[in-house]
Amino acid sequence: MTKEELKTYLEQTFPQNKVEETFDFPLLYADKSELFIIAKKLKESPETLFDFLFCETAVDRTPNLEMVYHLNSTTHRHDMVLKVVLEDRENPEIHSVNELWKAAELYENEIYDMFGIRFTGHPNLRRIMLGDEWPGFPLRKDYKDDINIVTL
Amino acid sequence: MTLTIQFSDITKWIHETLNASMSPGWALFSEFVLAGVAMILLVVVLAVLFVYMERKVAGFMQLRLGPHRVGPWGTMQVFADVFKLLLKESFAPFTVDKFLFNFAPILVLAVAFMAMAPISFAPGLQLWDMNIGILYVTAVSSIGVIGILMAGWSSNNKYSLLGAMRSGAQIVSYELSAGLSLVAVIAMCGSLSISDIIASQADGWWIFKGHLPIMFAFVVYVIAGTAETNRAPFDLAEAESELTAGYHTEFSGMQFGMFYLTEYINMAVISMVATTVFLGGWLPFHIYGFDAFNNVMNFIPSWIWFFGKTFFIIFLMMWFRWTFPRLRIDQLLKLEWKYLLPLSIINVVIVAFLVVMGWHF
């Protein structure tokens, strides 16, 4: 499906969700509670078949945190973006998509490390890069570290 | 061989002068000391030459020049390395088994030395012409694996332990086909004594006599010898990309130097045995019928023949090392138990058949 077709398809399939588009891909906003259901549907429905999670990351849109899932289909060769806005900044938590895409295991470890978003149902959630004793979550916009970050 | 000085004359002369100048007991003792010093010198000189040769061979094969800064053509590089090893600190981690850790390098070196006893370097230049010479060398050189196991186990290091276990399984396995390929020649000449084996090749080296089984045995022996000395492509025990340095990971300074030296002495022993058994020992190369050529060959001293052949086999081992990738441990054992050992057994049977039918010469 082309970008426009996919966008209309998403609008029809998920009428209660907001559908936008970025420069490259159609963009679907999902609610935190129904993320896993939507993701599963996107992966398994024969029209979309998004079986390839090629990028998973988070963006700190102060005060919210935003989860971004870039999905690709290796059969249809179309892409889309799935976003979830997390409003709880202090204790953000979301269901892991590790069961759908195994790639998520490492990505989610990294996001947990850098943004402090906890993933329920993740098999081995750990601070993969910085180690457990590291204070704070570096990629958040309010992260301050005078010792380790060299400013110009 | 008429023009060159015989080593047996020299030894005889030494024996006579010593006996003339002192009491027989002291003369015997000084002879022992002389022999010991000579052996140490020989071993050290050989090791130095081998290390230098290895570096040059490796360098040339890898589009490099090898050592060429220290001394002319880098000849002093080895001595520089020895001094480096001497001046380095040899320490052990706190958790090692102290006795075994310190004993292992001494054991492997002593065993490597002992294997030299029956080897005949030139006519008359032999410590002990025992009647079971070949059996003795095979038996003694296999004690070395105990030293390696000791070193690996006592280090209290997981890499060392794995390396020791691997080399245990490996060296022990390849002992079999090495032994069997020697049996092939022994059946042909009917003696275990080194001097008899050399004498049986006076009319032609075993490998050139045209017996296919013997040629096969030679190939098997070189492969098995490479594996027994832990050389690449069979250097599983010290596979640096897998176990960092294998059984000698924790050794440093001169203790490591002993393992390093032992590797080369073991190589020397293996190639000396191969030289003696398959390549005619110190006998010159003769072509039947070409008397002029044969006389020229005779002119070359026998010790040069011996060491020349030894170096040729060493070169083969180095050539393998710098060409092939390493085998995996199960493939290594499969190669032995599935290919080399059955083939060697069949080979021995064929040789026995040839001998019994009298089809050998």
Binding site: L152 | G59, F60, M61, Q62, L65, W319, W322, T323, F324
Partner: protein, 160 residues
Amino acid sequence: MRALIQYIKDVAQGFYSLSQGLLLTLKYFVRPWKHIVEQYPENRTTTIYIPEKFAGEVVLPHDENNRHKCTACTLCEMACPNGTIKIISATIEGEDGKKKKVLDKWVYNLGMCTMCGQCVDACPQDAITMKNSFELSVYNRNDLIKVLNKPGSKLKEKES
């Protein structure tokens, strides 16, 4: 029987493949004089080849009258991602009485430079370039901080 033939075939093929590799290494072994080896410290003054464009360090070229082209606009300082460049300017009174900003010190920290070339790219006057010098190591880290403009150097006015 077929298994036996396969077995022999395996062995033969194995030996053939190994011998090919051995021949290749032997080929290199017997002609060491053909190896291309740079004998570095010896050829430092003779055959060593450093390409013209090689980025070794940033320099501020001076002409024969000890003049450079830097106007102290600090565009390079802003373009540098690492804070390698510090431009210290001074204000002097020109001949016509106007106050004028001129370069006092062009401080360059070689230790922080990544040779990305952003400063050269950003300079509107083409005052700085990359030089293909090498062997820039020093014993003291402070020696890496260099002042690029020579003492007493002046701005080279544009010929208009």
